[in-house]
Subunit: 258 residues, 2 copies
DNA sequence: AACTAACGACTGGTCTGACCAGCAAACCAG
DNA sequence: CTGGTTTGCTGGTCAGACCAGTCGTTAGTT
């Protein structure tokens, strides 16, 4: 029996409407890159269409590269941009550490805007997600007796990502994401060190708390300032660590008779 | 009962194999542009696959623009002249104009920062280069009797790029560059229209002049504001043009008896 | 207790046969 | 000849079935 579910019929053919609807959901952040979509059976039931039509809709998304599907597993939202590990910038970073600060400069700008938008545009469910990420991070930072820097870094990243996604600007999410990837892949070692220094960790915790409060309480300008200060202080810490490493390296070089 | 027609199973999933096979037939000239394909029932029988799979295959071709289908008529091979360049999230831009504003939002932020940095950090030689680009652009805009929109767009872009480079932040240059590419490749037609509208062109000229002066005179905040206003006004203009095009498209659809 | 093999409950992939909706040519009454 | 109706095609959609990977759990073995 053909259905007349208005929402999916108005625009055009059913499968095209399905594809458009799913794309919207992705843009709205309901389905996020890397996330597993509901199963075909569930989706077709939810959208009130047959699985055949649903599948045709999914197929157009697949051919556009928006989702990836594997039998037995499901469909996941593809990351909007494949970050080429060998990007033109990577070389700059290896050869010229000063670009690290250039990177942080741009990131500050984007993180600040992102926090501000999250505070002003964030929905209730965004705040729930942000809170969850924040709690996970705090729980681990305070609960664990031995801290795995890599894991903490991941939780930290998750927290910032949640805030960014609450900005409801996919372009912003994407841009910030790729810059973060760049940062992590170039100075990951230093970032790890950051979490090993008790003084740095304390400061980071305080800044996270301020940022978190500003965002969930919907105070854009406060959120922006908190993000900016957070980033700039991280920049300083990273600078110290880099300098330290260079001193170590140079003394090692002297030891080796250079 | 599932079939095991070797020819269509070896490579991959059935519908993909179908799409590939049909593309081959088109390339071989068996089906020519403009020609009506056999009906779905006939094709599915001929290729020994179910109509559902055949339809998924056809849908892939449709989303690639290889065929066009109308209910009650059939599917015809599209003239395969224009091969549009494909990007993962290009489709999102075409199908969801709202992301255009997300893009402009981020670009404004970066252009503003870029202008501000250029004003505060720019060296004498930076100012020389910026001035040169600005002059080239103004000379062409005022001197030529017939204006080539594409050339003007290139000069415009060169001006903004010179400013961005004066910020002395390679990361900023790179990020802004990639966003600009994205913008141009998604709405290039609209951008061109921008230069064809006398009112828009005048406004752009005035804004360029203000931005230029602020930068070379070393006034960061003024430069940022000029850039922001420039971008936001361009956003408005693009919005108008897009809306106009949609109106044209819709009336064309009515003409065709949709 | 630790490993492994088998099970079961998912997932997507495919098939079938049915009915609806649009189109066009054949047909028939005026 | 003209205009409306019938008829048989087309794609569009649906429900329900079964096949085929995947993964967590559980029962059996070592």
């Amino acid at each position: 029996m053909p259905r007349y579910h208005e929402e999916l019929r108005i625009t055009s053919r059913t499968p095209d409407a399905i594809a458009a609807r799913l794309e919207e959901l992705i843009l709205d952040g309901v389905f996020r890159p890397g996330q597993l979509l509901p199963s075909e059976r569930r989706l077709s039931e939810r959208l009130q269409v047959s699985r055949a039509s649903l599948r045709e809709g999914l197929r157009t998304l697949r051919s556009k590269g928006v989702i990836e599907t594997r039998q037995g597993r499901g469909s996941v939202v593809a990351s909007l941009v494949a970050t080429p590990l060998d990007s033109p910038l990577m070389h700059l970073f290896r050869d010229h550490p000063r670009t690290l600060f250039d990177l942080l400069e741009v990131r500050s700008l984007l993180e600040g805007e992102s926090a501000s938008l999250a505070a002003s545009r964030g929905t209730a469910s965004d705040r729930v997600l942000i809170t969850r990420r924040y709690q996970e991070m705090v729980d681990y930072a305070e609960g664990a007796e031995t801290i795995d820097a890599e894991r903490l870094a991941r939780l930290d990243h998750g927290f910032h990502l949640a805030i960014c996604q609450a900005s409801h600007n996919p372009v912003l999410v994407h841009t910030l994401q790729s810059l973060t990837d760049l940062l992590l892949s170039s100075v990951f070692a230093s970032v790890k060190n950051l979490y090993h220094r008790p003084r740095s960790r304390e400061m980071i915790n305080r800044q996270h708390a301020r940022l978190y409060r500003a965002v969930v309480e919907g105070k854009p300008e406060l959120a922006r300032r908190a993000a900016l200060e957070h980033l700039s202080s991280i920049g300083e810490q990273l600078g110290e660590i880099e300098a330290e490493e260079q001193r170590l390296e140079r003394s090692a070089m002297r030891l080796e008779g250079w």
